[in-house]
């Protein structure tokens, strides 16, 4: 009985716990509600994923209004995969937040953080689960508005200007998306994605479709920090509270990538005339520029958080590169990297947050000899860094493998060479950390604080362990994705 309503509960539970937290106000109670919500969301996402694997796509009519007239929640393999990623990151971020947020925010503001986090979680889960293009916009704005607040909670005043910058860029992005959806609605008279895909096949006029595709690509491109629309990201990630950075880096941009895949491979799947346009080549070009230039920029950053932020833009380039290859192995690489990079970057940002808490600084030039003060943390960063490079045996390698395979299948050996060469740049910036932390004498000014509390260390190390686990045992991140990709390819590829 209750299992029937899981798709709705997945979104409603986090959505309702936000006002509950605001009513309770006590910081400890707020933390308990947020943590229970996150773990409940994870449990629901896993049950949904298993049901999808057994029974196929689940369709849920909100308020029993039959689709395409009512809003449909549609959980297919890809949506379930994204749900698991988002709720997993939330479930691990909450124990970490207990100590981290207490250290970074005044006690009377803590409940606001937890309320905003729950709203953000509801928005991100909603984006993944909904099958309605306009409903997606609403969830996009729920998650974005709460994200702006979360970033503005950062301790230094730069957090405010970073949040403002993101608010302006993010709103322009979301509005571009609505313009695109509006044009599609004018052409088809429906907002249900599956219905829209069928009706688009009968539309004769090509020009509005091109405009809609362009508006949606640019709008979502702003949200997922597609080069050159990434300017908001480094500042936002650098100045937000540590746990916010880790949660957003692992989920927000990934969910936007999911939206892009959804539109390219579901909504525009049955309009083959669009496939002749050079969208694919354009996306490939932007991805390549993103990977090369942002990896190089990351190499020269002193601030550890900023380095990882630029590396994120480069890693998103790998994902969009996989999408632009439009082959089954390219898509496998892209969707697998959603998960692999989410786990890897989440681990790295959580560990950098640990360093920030204990040492008070995150600049490489001030962290000499970190490994002798915090051996476990430093080792964790190196392990997760290896996954970022793509060393065999880590999650990052699985993606690179599929990406190289997809490039070779397409006959572009230069692309394969590029993927390998840019991994070397990643090796460069991870090595800068190794050199600072292990090979230099401890800085006299570096506080002898020791390791962080277990509340923070355990979630971070669990993520580091999963970087290795998902590199060796790929039945979930590749096996499950394989099913999702088969579904997408069957629907036709844009």
């Amino acid at each position: 009985m209750i299992a029937e309503h899981l798709p709705a509960l997945q979104v409603v539970v986090p959505l309702l716990s936000a006002p509950a937290i605001v009513l309770v106000r006590r910081h400890r109670a707020a933390w308990i509600i947020a943590t229970v919500t996150s773990w409940a969301a994870l449990a629901m996402a896993i049950v949904l994923a298993m049901r999808v694997a057994d029974l196929g796509t689940i369709s849920y009519a909100i308020g029993s209004w039959a689709p395409p007239w009512g809003i449909e929640y549609r959980v297919d393999a890809l949506a379930a995969f994204v749900l698991v990623l988002v709720s997993l990151m939330g479930a691990l971020a909450m124990p970490y937040a207990k100590v981290s947020i207490a250290a970074e925010l005044p006690e009377e503001q803590e409940y606001l953080f937890y309320a905003m986090y729950c709203l953000c979680l509801a928005g991100l889960l909603g984006i993944a689960i909904t099958g309605d293009a306009f409903n997606l916009f609403v969830f996009l704005e729920i998650s974005s508005l709460s994200t702006y607040v979360l970033i503005a909670l950062g301790r230094r005043r730069q957090a405010l200007s970073a949040a403002y910058q993101y608010l302006v860029m993010g709103t322009i992005g979301a509005t571009f998306y609505v313009i695109g959806v509006g044009l599609l609605y004018l052409m088809t008279g429906t907002l249900n994605m599956a219905d829209m895909a069928q009706r688009l096949a009968q539309v004769d006029e090509l020009r509005p479709l091109i405009a809609a595709l362009a508006f949606i690509t640019v709008g979502i491109g702003l949200k997922l920090a597609l080069f050159p629309l990434h300017q908001w990201l480094p500042n936002a990630y650098t100045h937000a509270p540590s746990v916010v950075t880790a949660f957003l880096a692992a989920t927000a941009t990934k969910v936007s990538v999911y939206v892009l895949i959804r539109f390219y491979f579901t909504v525009f799947a049955q309009t083959p005339r669009l496939h002749d346009l050079p969208f694919r080549e354009l996306l490939m070009l932007l991805s390549v520029v993103a990977i090369v230039s942002m990896s190089l920029v990351a190499l020269f950053q002193d601030e550890l958080k900023r380095m990882l932020a630029y590396s994120s833009v480069a890693q998103i380039g790998y994902i969009t590169l996989g999408i632009s290859l439009t082959s089954p192995s390219g898509l496998t690489a892209a969707t697998t990297h959603l998960f692999n990079h989410g786990v890897t970057k989440g681990a790295l940002f959580l560990l950098v947050g640990v360093v920030a808490l204990r040492c008070g600084v995150t600049r490489l030039s001030q962290l000499s000899g970190l490994a002798s003060r915090m051996p476990v943390t430093a080792f964790g960063i190196v392990l997760a860094g290896m996954s970022l490079i793509g060393v065999p045996g880590t999650a990052g390698f699985v993606t690179k493998w599929y990406l190289v395979r997809a490039s070779l299948e397409r006959g572009s050996w230069w692309l394969a060479a590029l993927v390998v060469a840019t991994s070397l740049i990643a090796l460069g910036y991870v090595w800068r950390f190794v050199e600072t932390a292990y090979l230099k004498e401890p800085d006299a000014e570096l506080p002898r604080a020791g390791e962080a509390p277990l509340w923070m260390l355990i979630p971070a190390l669990l993520l580091v362990a999963s970087c290795v686990y998902f590199g060796l045992e790929t039945s979930f991140n590749v096996g499950y994705v394989g099913e999702a990709v088969r579904l997408l390819v069957r629907q036709g590829g844009a």
Binding site: F134, F137, V138, E141, L145, Y148, V149, A152, R157, Q158, L160, S161, A163, Y164, L167, V168, T171, I172, A174, T175, V178, I179, G182, Y185, L186, L191, D302, R363
Partner: protein, 123 residues
């Protein structure tokens, strides 16, 4: 194609471009938000104008009416308006906080203050 029958689109596009232009060209944070608001408003028009049929009535089925306007865009835009109000409110709230922290709401002055602080930390 009749230009006069498409004037709603012309207004929409003018508002759209004007809004984005203000966001890009103005350095004052409040003015930027005004531009952003105008940009969002243009989208309301994009949805609502095509939903209206000349001579159409509200979609209440009655024997003397045969032409109805589409009510769905109104409902969608009602939601979008709420989102727009929330964005504007949050944006203004952040500007107030920025004014307290930087004592300025001019983009270039804030940027200069940030850079100066970065330099101080590095040295």
């Amino acid at each position: 194609m009749n230009i006069a029958s498409h004037y709603a689109y012309a207004v929409t596009i003018f508002l759209m471009v004007a809004g984005v232009f203000i966001v890009i060209a103005r350095g004052n944070l409040v003015k930027k938000l005004i531009g952003l608001s105008i940009f969002q408003t243009s989208v309301y028009l994009l949805y609502i104008a095509p939903g209206k049929l000349i001579g159409g009535t509200a979609p209440i089925v009655a024997p003397e009416f045969t032409v109805y306007s589409n009510p769905l865009p109104h409902v969608l835009i009602l939601t979008a308006i709420v989102v727009g109000v929330a964005t504007l409110a949050l944006g203004l709230a952040i500007v107030v906080r920025i004014r307290e922290a930087y004592d300025s709401i001019e983009e270039d002055e804030i940027l200069a203050a940030d850079q100066a602080e970065d330099e101080r930390q590095r040295s």
